[in-house]
Symmetry: C2
Subunit: 335 residues, 2 copies
Amino acid sequence: MADTPLIALDAMGGDNAPAEIVAGGVRAARELGLRLALVGRPEEVVAELAKHGAKPDTVTVVPASEVIAMDEQPAQAARHKKDSSLVVGMRMVKQGEAGAFVSAGNTGAIMAAAIMYLGRIKGIERPTLAALMPLSGKLTVFLDVGANADCKPNYLLQFGEMASAYMQRVWKVERPKVALLNIGEEEAKGSTLAQESYALLEKSGLNFIGNVEGRDVPTDIADVIVTDGFTGNIVVKTMEGVADFVMNQLRTAIKSRPWYAAAGLALMPAFNQVRKKLDYREYGAGPLLGVNGLVFIGHGRSDARAIFSALRVAREAAQSGMLEALREIAPARTR
Amino acid sequence: MADTPLIALDAMGGDNAPAEIVAGGVRAARELGLRLALVGRPEEVVAELAKHGAKPDTVTVVPASEVIAMDEQPAQAARHKKDSSLVVGMRMVKQGEAGAFVSAGNTGAIMAAAIMYLGRIKGIERPTLAALMPLSGKLTVFLDVGANADCKPNYLLQFGEMASAYMQRVWKVERPKVALLNIGEEEAKGSTLAQESYALLEKSGLNFIGNVEGRDVPTDIADVIVTDGFTGNIVVKTMEGVADFVMNQLRTAIKSRPWYAAAGLALMPAFNQVRKKLDYREYGAGPLLGVNGLVFIGHGRSDARAIFSALRVAREAAQSGMLEALREIAPARTR
């Protein structure tokens, strides 16, 4: 048992907390034998736990009296709410009690708390938030999705190095293909940032495959796609928007004629197959890379299934030596 | 007849040139009474024309012996191929022979030729390429989609002003709602560029509605959405990629079981409805704003329908005083 690391889970974070969070945690404990610390208001967490029958032996409740709301000012909340589930969970990682922390709470507050309590890995200029793209059937990790709105070429290089280490350790991709998101395929294309980042990535030891364009994002062209946090955030949100739009339009079209409805019903399993591919919940949570500890940030809308997936990935990360690999990334200044 | 302006069409530009281009032109001449100059290699253009029966009276052929290929180096091609359809068409606008020029050719070469032969409108810092987003059922003009990879706040302000004038004149939107693409809704969010652009847009005379996020792009939240050419290009290409992905996945899912096929067939009209909404071809071509003449750039994949739509919009622009409205935009330096 001592072999498998304890994972701390923010029971109070996310739109569906605590019910869905606790449900996902219980499932992970039962099905994966995961050692889990549910961090949150004890009475609420215990009440949710009771809904799922006997508490699994591997689940403990760690009390935290405060909650950081989804719309709270991130840095302030992280600084002042020292007994919040989010900060308590982060401190468990800091103190080595937990091998990783998973939260679907206020993204800004999680990032702020991670930097405040865990600190940056030495030599890493900017921690970065990555998203897992499930669309192509094979995973692509896409970053930065919003942690750093203004970037320098060196940040993008380090994003590539960290994501590459993550894909190697956690997803067992031997030599991850790293691409740069740009507005053309040729080397000389794009913004100054993109061109300078290209030059750094090309002479890095990474398996750099060059530029990819927006239309390549939902494909399996690369294992890692690197961009600045402004572009990256807009890309993932645009993808969500377009996918929702198409599915809604289909629903409306099918409802528009009575004789479509039967056909629509017959196709439901096929539609669900497609929905599932578009579904971030299959993959749970994105890693916050570059802080001195393992932190996974789930979508605010995470349900039990997303939390289950996130916990599985978090444990894999904790067992795989991923953090040690990130610590070996050379500091930017030596380049 | 003298009332309706002559529109020059690049018969040799685009993946489907000259067949689809000429077909779209003939249709516009017949159905809209459009006065059209087909610019290109006369023998090829005449051969295509012959496929459509008697040449409409309002169609003339303007000879140009050279063709700029889709993958040619833009600036060089525009400079050296002086008898290309693209450059000849541009000169017709310059000399006042044509009220507008439409091309589905090499985007970079069209932009380079426009700047070279027409020049910038006085006071406009950077010409910009806009895309028409048909998704929400109501048009949104989205820009810059790739003309300017590196932008300054003043450029974004002028993009907003030009697109606003375009929506007013051509699409008769009285007080176009202008939004800034950003990674959060609050004023203080985003990159330095986004924050400084916000400040300029807010104190402009525009109907500025604030920040919108990626997920708002395929909605009717705004009439104009402004961003830099790097982000904008990646957004439109991501949208294309995701829409293609979803439709392909649906097709595959429907084919996966024999009993889905019949239901899929019954739903074809509903699917086609959705496809049509995702289809840039419904709206033809995006305006190149800020050059001293009206230029519309179609998608390389434009077919006859796209060209037809582009010609209709180009004539509307030429008749609406749009260019004059753009010329009234105050130079940036006076702000």
